[in-house]
């Protein structure tokens, strides 16, 4: 039996949406995008979250990342001790061990590939203006160490002569979409995370790259002991890498279990897969 690392209990989030009612008049309607949602994420496993468009998957991720406020509920995260992350500001999440990959990459386009990796480093030494002015030598030393770390990570993930290290001085905008995705994943190796949230890691990339991404996600769990919680639409990927799968529909988790069971579930097949 696994321990849980993240417990989401009784979570609610509603939006007001503007609708036209039966009499043809506009009216505001409360709409529960997350509706009394409960979900436990097991530690050091890969848990996939599937569900149709508008089911509230990305909203759930945004609430966990603290970009969106929830209405009520509790999300506790375990890193040595249980912590209610809904009481933390967004920037603290990295410090307590939660990382995030965005659906549309969110790579720093106007920065070099190397800078993109360096900024994700676990240590934030030298980011105070006075330190950057008066401690130049120590700064250089630390930057060298960080650069070594980047080289090592890129080498381990993508092998010798990988395009990222060779193009490290180029702007990240010169990379293709798929490469940017890989860079976003590599960036997560710079930090000291316990749990990473991946929002559709394989969306919009070619089949070869999907394989690479699957390998990287598996390595996150095997080698770094991370817990991965990912939104995924590609059922092949879910079957291949996920240990657990949860199905989200109308703001609730309606099925949870092994990927085979969930994808085989009659309700899931009918409402989501259309079979």
């Amino acid at each position: 039996m696994n321990n849980d690392i993240l417990k989401i209990e009784d979570l609610n989030k509603s939006f007001t949406r503007n609708i036209i009612n039966m009499r043809g008049k506009e009216e505001n309607e409360r709409f529960n995008i997350i509706d009394e949602l409960d979900l436990f994420i097991p530690e050091s496993k890969i848990t996939a979250l599937i569900g149709g468009n508008g089911a509230g998957k990305t909203t759930l991720f945004n609430i966990i990342s603290r970009f969106t406020e929830s209405d009520s509920g509790r999300i506790s995260f375990h890193n040595n001790q249980w912590l209610n992350i809904l009481k933390q500001p967004a920037y603290k999440l990295k410090h307590i061990g939660i990382g995030r990959l965005f659906q549309d990459n969110h790579i720093f386009q106007q920065m070099t590939v190397l800078e993109n990796m360096l900024i994700a480093d676990d240590s934030e030494w030298g980011e105070r203006p006075f330190i950057s002015l008066f401690k130049a030598n120590k700064n250089k030393e630390i930057e060298k160490k960080r650069t070594k770390k980047v080289e090592k990570i890129l080498f381990e993930l993508f092998g010798i002569n990988n395009p990222f290290w060779q193009k490290r001085k180029d702007l990240a905008s010169s990379l293709s979409f798929g490469q940017q995705r890989l860079l976003g994943l590599a960036r997560l190796f710079m930090g000291d995370y316990k749990l990473v949230l991946l929002d559709e890691p394989t969306a919009g990339v070619n089949p070869d790259l999907v394989k690479t991404i699957c390998i990287i996600i598996k390595r996150m769990v095997k080698e770094k002991g991370l817990t991965v919680f990912l939104i995924e639409h590609n059922m092949k990927v879910v079957l291949e890498i996920a240990d657990f799968c949860s199905f989200m529909s109308h703001g609730k988790i309606t099925a949870f279990g092994s990927p085979k069971d969930v994808i085989g579930d009659e309700n899931v097949r009918r409402t989501y897969l259309g079979m």
Binding site: S65, F67, P89, A90, Y91, K92, L93, K94, H95, G99, R100, F102, H106, I107, F108, Q109, Q110, M111, E115, L118, I119, A120, E124, W125, G126, E127, R128, P129, I131, S132, L133, A136, N139, E143, R187, G191
Partner: protein
């Protein structure tokens, strides 16, 4: 010769103004319309230190930088969390308030009469900086100092986070950096450096009045920066040279004064539009302001 040196000093003042603004606009994507207000606060505190406290150069410079930074902190604390246009509006409001105070608090600033006869600052109580050549040297030293600090900052991990905020705030947040704190820091630093320009201007011209620190001036500083380009050192320098030299060139064309002033505005406007269309990163910039 004096004329050319005068122009170079004015260019140097604008280089300091635009490089400081570059730290905000070009590095952090914070558009501020309050730059002239800080320029004015710096200039008025310089006068206060020189004429009332009779302080020498270095303490005067430090105090006016410190006080300007303090005022910018007061503005930053309530307004820095505002998004995009709302932040611009907050700085606009600040600009208008500062100008109104400078203009109307006659017992303190002499309002529209201005303050004449500003004494020359003394370095270590010995060397008096007065006359055009010492000022030329002094302004070059201050430009060098500003550029030095700017380069140090943007090439450090601190600058990297600023660039990150410029590109993608959400991502910086998810990487664990407190965006608000970084924005406040950079805003305060940039305003402190603008005070240097206020210091040079007040002591060089030896007369100031509030009309030097209007909203027009803020827009002028921003357009100098945008014409030159943001994100590096070359851009602000190119922009400052352009906006200072252009009216001087128009003077030689032989237009009557009343036409030349308006023509200047038209040319700046036209130039901005042409740049936006064909070279959105400015003359020498390497980043396009969103």
């Amino acid at each position: 010769m004096n004329y050319i040196m005068h122009i170079i000093i004015m260019i140097n003042i604008y280089i300091i103004l635009t490089i400081s603004s570059n730290l905000l606009v070009g590095m952090t994507n914070l558009l501020s319309l309050g730059q002239a207000a800080f320029y004015g606060i710096g200039a008025y505190f310089t006068i206060f230190c020189l004429m009332i406290l009779h302080l020498p150069l270095i303490p005067t410079l430090l105090i006016s930088m410190g006080m300007t930074a303090l005022f910018s902190l007061l503005l930053a604390l309530p307004s820095i969390r505002l998004k995009g246009d709302y932040f611009v509006l907050a700085t606009l409001g600040f600009q208008l308030i500062v100008y109104t105070i400078l203009y109307n608090w006659v017992s303190l600033t002499r309002g529209s009469f201005g303050i004449p006869g500003i004494p020359a600052p003394k370095l270590f109580g010995l060397i008096e900086i007065s006359g055009i050549i010492p000022f030329l040297i002094f302004s070059f030293i201050m430009v060098g100092f500003t550029i030095f600090i700017f380069l140090k900052l943007i090439n450090s991990p601190f600058g990297r986070v600023l660039k990150g905020i410029r590109d993608d705030e959400l991502s910086v947040l998810s990487l664990g950096r407190n965006v608000t704190v970084f924005k406040i820091r950079v805003f305060v630093i940039a305003s402190g450096f603008i005070a240097i320009a206020g210091f040079i201007y007040a002591t060089y011209v030896t007369y100031i009045d509030p009309t030097s620190f209007t909203l027009d001036e803020s827009i002028f500083i921003l357009s100098a920066l945008l014409i030159g380009g943001t994100g590096n050192i070359k851009g602000p320098i190119a922009g400052s040279i352009f906006v200072i030299i252009l009216p001087e060139l128009l003077r030689f064309v032989g237009l009557p004064n009343s036409v030349a002033a308006n023509l200047r505005q038209i040319i700046y406007g036209l130039f901005l539009i042409i740049l936006m269309r064909f070279r959105p990163q400015g003359l020498a910039g390497n980043y396009q302001v969103k």
